[in-house]
């Protein structure tokens, strides 16, 4: 258990970005040997605070004390020298290099003072990895190992640099529940050895499982710091969001109609020529939401790409509303009654430099009344957009505003307006709430449930298990390109978690 003397103290940290007060006099302290969770929503200022602590940003005001000594970090190097290590949410690893190269980077062992000593690097990494029971091959390329292992490489990077304070930024976002448990085990080992851990997250259950103390931030301000003993999910959620949160989505019992999307024994190869989807069969019927659960990179992207025509399937069949669309062009598939909310709204969902009217027209610009014989009628596009933007409550701009000027939540509403507004028979939603705040998440969920009530079939692909569980009428588990399990509406997170690692029973999906 932790002793009371703080190894790290942040006092009154303030950071102003143009237009946003990201941190407003935040206090924070870390005791030796504890796990201190920093809890808050997306955009609450957690990452800014940690980036300041790691020397990536300079604070406008406030003080950082390491082991009682005031310090100023001008770059990560300063932070590293003070024993601070950080595991970023998006790993700071170079995929094409080996584990050892990644770990020793910038502190390389050399031969003759000039040449890279690869053997020494491998040896040291192997020793380090063994002493913490990590089982990592130093010679493996980072792109060839699992995400869980990559995270351990990140931790090793910090340990190699003699860190005794470890910052973990949303470390479980990419892990299965089982991998998360392994990570927690590692953290317990590390704290027993005297390391101190800052654990950034927005997930309440994790906080209660691993943290000794919890600091909640909201809109750049520290709300409170509490001990784990006595803290409850509801209480933390209220502090985090500032109001009562609806943890469940209300929806009537499903009444599925005819199949609107049928996928039959689909095989798809990924960019590297590996078989990413291996014989997947799915049926989505009108009026139901089918969720696909799985760890990122198990074939979700390739599956969606193949259904939407963005990628050629090696074999198999896709039908929309009974019509075979296998091998058709994306635009024909969209026309045959498919709506697609892509994974990444800024990269794939929107043309940020286009006006909202032009974005709303992204599939239907070549159809009357928006255009005829190749001539475009901008006024018609604007008229159509005005209707939809009102319907979907898009705020922050009109039809002629550029999409880049909207907030993330409103951008996603524009995508929803386009995809649902076309009245498709089946809607594919890929991670539709990624990076959104609670209000926007609720909006998206409501609209998906509404689409279901209107008789549309929805195929929901998400990495968030609670989203899958609360929305789906049926849930399929995708593991290494295969559907390994199928469930009704009352599945538990644990059950899915086990199956997502391929450990569950294999059964064919209907």
């Amino acid at each position: 258990m932790a002793d009371e003397r703080p190894v790290l103290e942040l006092r009154g940290i303030t950071k102003q970005f143009p237009g946003v007060l990201a941190n407003d006099h935040v206090d924070f302290d870390l005791r030796r040997g504890e796990v201190h969770a920093l809890l808050g929503e997306n955009g609450a200022g957690k990452s800014t605070l940690m980036n300041i602590l790691y020397g990536l940003y300079q604070p406008d005001e406030g003080q950082i004390l390491v082991k009682g000594e005031p310090v100023r970090f001008h770059s990560p190097k300063d932070a590293i020298n003070r024993g601070i290590g950080m595991v970023h949410q998006h790993f700071m690893l170079i995929p094409v290099m080996t584990v050892a190269e990644n770990i020793v980077l910038a502190n390389e062992p050399t031969r003759a003072g000039l040449l890279l000593d690869t053997n020494a690097a491998d040896r040291r990494v192997r020793e380090l990895s063994r002493s913490f029971n990590f089982a990592i091959d130093p010679e493996a390329r980072v792109e060839e190992i699992t995400v869980g292992q990559q995270q351990r490489v990140e931790i090793l990077k910090a340990l190699y640099r003699h860190a005794d304070i470890l910052i973990l930024d949303e470390p479980t976002a990419v892990l299965t529940p089982q991998e998360s448990n392994e990570l927690f085990e590692i953290l317990r080992t590390l704290t027993r050895e005297g390391m101190s851990v800052i654990f950034i997250t927005h997930k309440l259950n994790e906080v209660l499982e691993i943290a000794d103390r919890i600091t909640v931030v909201r809109r750049g301000k520290r709300i409170d710091t509490v001990d784990r003993q006595g803290a409850t999910e509801e209480g933390l959620a209220r502090m985090m969001v500032g109001r009562e949160v609806l943890l469940r989505v209300e929806k009537p019992v499903s009444d599925p109609g005819d199949p609107v999307l049928t996928v039959d024994d689909l095989h798809v190869f990924d960019d590297r020529g590996l078989e990413a989807v291996r014989g997947v069969s799915i049926e989505v019927r009108g009026g139901e939401i089918v969720g696909i659960a799985g760890v990122d990179g198990n074939g979700q992207t390739e599956l969606i790409d193949a259904i939407t025509g963005l990628r050629k399937a090696a074999s198999g069949r896709v039908a929309i509303g009974g019509r075979n669309v296998t091998g058709a062009t994306p635009s024909r598939i969209l026309d045959s009654g498919l709506g697609h909310i892509p994974e990444d709204r800024q990269r794939r969902g929107l043309v940020l430099e286009f006006s909202l009217a032009e974005n709303v027209a992204l599939h239907d610009y070549d159809k009357a009344p928006g255009s005829r014989w190749g001539w475009l009628f901008p006024r018609q596009l604007i008229r159509r957009a005005r209707e939809l933007l009102t319907q979907f409550d898009v705020r922050g701009g009109g039809p002629q505003t550029r999409a880049s000027a909207l907030s993330g939540g409103n951008q996603q509403k524009v995508v929803l307006a386009r995809e649902i507004g076309r009245e498709p028979s089946v809607l594919i939603a890929a991670q539709p709430t990624r990076g959104l705040d609670v209000g926007a998440i609720e909006f998206v969920h409501r609209r998906l449930v509404e689409a279901r009530a209107n008789g549309k079939g929805v195929l929901l692909v998400s990495l968030e298990l609670d989203e899958i569980i609360s929305l789906s009428d049926r849930t399929l588990v995708l593991y290494e390109g295969e559907i390994v399990a199928q469930h009704g509406p009352d599945v538990t997170e644990d059950q899915l978690g086990i199956e997502m690692t391929g450990a569950g029973s294999k059964e064919a999906a209907a």
Binding site: T308, E353, S404
Partner: protein, 431 residues
Amino acid sequence: MSGLSGEPPDMTGQTPEVSEPTPESKVPSVAARLALWQRSGGVITPILTALIAFLIGGLVVFATTGKNPLNTYKAIFKGTGLSWLSPVSIHWHLFYPAGIHWTGWDTTSPTALNLQQTLIVVTPLILTGLAVAFAFRCGLFNIGGNGQYTVGALVAVQFGVWFAGLPGPLHVIVAMVAATLAGAVWGGIAGFLKAATGAHEVITTIMLNWIALWVGSYLVGFNGPLQDPRAISAPVTRPIADSAHLHVFWGNPLLQGLHVGFFIAIAMLFVYWILLNRTTLGYEVRAVGFNAEAARYGGISVGRNFFLAMAISGAFAGLAGSIDILGWEFNLDLTVVQTVQVGFIGIAVALLGRNSAIGIFFSALLFGALLTGTSTRNLDPSVFQPELAGNLTRIIQGLVVLFVGADLLIIYLWQARKKLRLQQRKAAEQP
């Protein structure tokens, strides 16, 4: 390699940090601040860009020859004939005009002749500027304007020699259409390769330039199939038939008066605008240029648009080649094939004109004037050597592209700033 249009992915990519903006305090230097200020003025930015380029060019003149750059520029300006547009000439004495002379619009004055020259040079520059700009709007960098122009000129000259019996307007149209198509094919090759194999258009268009140069040299050079058999000592094609000449509407046709090709180029500016903003093709091209990935998800074929955009770009450049042949050159000379540079200047024209129709017109005017003003014929060698001035033009052109390239960043920063302001407003709205 990155296209031009995309914003730096680090900044817009879907990462949680996006909601936490880049601190602007880190934005570098005086240059950036100056540029931010420029951007607020819209049209001021390109003007400042050009001024800075001329300023540095002037320093080069001064540093290397010790001559007063102002005098040099004045001499260049005199050669452009642009002063003809003003009916009065004003002599300044300190701060008040000491004398105003009514010069009127004498269409036979040397100044008028110079202006005709300038506009003749401006004509192909508008078109090669469009050739670069259209590709830019699709996210492609067409530095193959030279090759596309050369191919157009070669085809135009041959079609001008053939079909000598055709009635005038028809002959002109046939030759122009053929040249335009040839340019489209030459540009289309690069577009096709980009679409089919991902070959970067910068490398392929440069290679196509050189291929066009050597094929052209073979065709019009000594003993080449297109060389004029009557002029065995000169590497030049036969002259085109009279029926293929473009009508000269201003000035003396024998002294290279201004031909109607100028209006064709102006018309193409409108075509360019309409194509981009009022057709579904233009919509697709812009969508692909701004965000190819989103366009693909929207059902737009990215490859098809790469091909079409390059073909249309090539068509503009090919048309430019034909207008020069049919308008005032009337035959094609080996040195023209080997030293043509309108395609390259088109890059500076498009960038300085910010890919807008009106901007391209004015920057074509600037570079056309610069070219005429520094030509051997129009620049007084006692003031400045034309050979040096020609290279000075290239330096200024390079500087313009350099600064405009940096200017793209400024635009981005400006947008980012606006985005931040918006976020601020939103943050203020939601308590």
